[in-house]
Subunit: 300 residues, 2 copies
């Protein structure tokens, strides 16, 4: 791992640390509720790039927040993200059998366990944030709860998911603004929170908190376009998942609305803008800058 | 309503106030997410006895907490309770078409909307608790979040629901202790929180907070036995719902394990014990005492 580029190394290290934190924070798969606890662990431990958790850790590093505090918040965000994936994969929603190459929770257990595991992951994320170990100042903890619950709730992730479902049912005739709004809610708000959380933990001055939030907003938007571009252009072999799904589903994305070239330009503009928000952060912001670049360079 | 006994009048008034609070706290059913917001409102506004919300309001009254603060917490608890009912009613769980005489959310909309509405109700409950309007002191707000999320999470409501599902799948051979544990988790923890919340809001001394928690624990246990007794003895006409369901399902309850008479005695002992915990509360505790008596006297 020592020969890997700095961003890849930092992300791999962060992912390992986040998994350790999750392992400690989630109940052990014992006792009469064991299948619930096992399903929760399966859903969130050991998967994904940990983009959200990495953002929390890097945001926190700008303000010298303790690693333990940042890891708890990173774990909480990953719990919320994982719960949303477990519920999205259900037969009544996207009906997916595989996630990151493994059977989805409702395939590995059953639908009822998947619903409950998602529900319990959401509750547990707020317990983790609210506990004193996250930060000695209750005002910091409650602000984290307020921001994360808003990012996840009816005017955040859940609202975006609803709009997405309705668009698919109606045949997906959305314009650029509607697609942008959908994605801001569905995936953007949680990424914004992840970027902002370190500033909350570090009691950063408002302008710096806003800068991280704005960075998260642009990064999330660029990330989404990059995802759509990959879906439209990359092979399944490269991405490790089925591609061409959006076009096959007749789904409106910024790529289908703007065309490949304009979508790519827009993603590049967003990445540049994201980095501009970090102007006040000096060298400590380098990994966040690299992450922005990586967003549109990645092939999976 | 003026001729109704004091408890019935107080509960009806509380239910109306809680509905008003919910109406204000939930997003209006407008915009592209309208079906999500409408389903959330449908699930939680205008239904049930509001036992949990009433407990919050009465607990808060012991410590002269502002009605507005108490109503926000009551609304948050009812959102969590309603979300659990929406998910429990899903085809993969209890598969119920009716709830309180109305079509369940997945019948009135669809399964995906029901899953999302439940998810969003849970997030929104924590947003409501975390917002400044709930209490000027962030330590109070974050303590409410911590307690409610624990009561709802893997070691609370979700854990109890999991044990219940596994017991049904395995044929329900549980002993008295296992049934007690199941019910403590599945319904007891949220009722305990509801009773305790007023003391948190009122920054009550620990002994008084513990007294309310203990009252809630005994009340919840008595309430559950009374429910099982009603299921075993009352007619569907009296209760307004199907009865004899537990026996038909071969479900172990304290009534099936102890017999009618011993179960009734145990409920009475729990009610007496619940009231004993209120000894320090003077006349202001009278409605909570009446509520304990009502638990085993009710016919629906």
């Amino acid at each position: 791992m020592t020969d890997a580029p700095p961003l890849a190394r930092a992300m791999a290290e962060a992912a390992a640390e986040i998994d350790q934190a999750l392992d400690i924070l989630l109940p052990a798969a014992e006792g009469p509720e064991a299948p619930l606890f096992a399903a929760m662990r399966y859903a969130v431990i050991g998967g994904g790039k940990r983009l959200r958790g990495f953002l929390v850790l890097e945001g926190a590093r700008q303000f010298s927040v303790s690693r333990q505090a940042a890891l708890r918040v990173a774990a909480a965000v990953e719990m919320v993200h994982a719960y949303s994936l477990v519920h999205d994969d259900l037969p009544a929603m996207d009906d997916d059998d595989l996630r990151r190459g493994k059977p989805t929770v409702h395939k590995a257990w059953d639908e009822a366990t998947a619903i409950l595991a998602g529900d319990a992951l959401q509750s547990h994320a707020f317990t983790v944030l609210a506990e004193e170990a996250t930060h000695p100042d209750p005002a910091v903890r409650v602000e984290l709860v307020r921001c994360l619950s808003k990012a996840a709730g009816p005017r955040g992730m859940c609202g975006g998911q609803m709009i997405d479902m309705l668009a698919e049912q109606s045949g997906g005739q959305m314009d650029e603004m509607a697609v942008g709004r959908l994605q801001t809610l569905k995936t953007g708000k949680l990424i914004e929170f992840s970027a902002e959380a370190g500033a909350v933990l570090g009691k950063a001055p408002t302008p710096q908190r806003h800068a991280l939030l704005a960075y998260g907003r642009d990064l999330g938007a660029a990330f989404q376009i990059a995802d759509d571009l990959l879906d439209a252009t990359a092979s399944a072999e490269e991405t490790g998942k089925a591609t061409g799904k959006d076009a096959a589903a007749g789904k409106a994305t910024l790529v289908s609305l703007l065309g490949l070239e304009r979508a790519r330009l827009q993603a590049e503009r967003l990445v540049a803008q994201a980095k501009d928000h970090l102007d006040g952060f000096g060298e400590r912001g380098d990994l966040l800058r690299m992450l922005a670049d990586f967003t549109i360079e990645r092939r999976s």
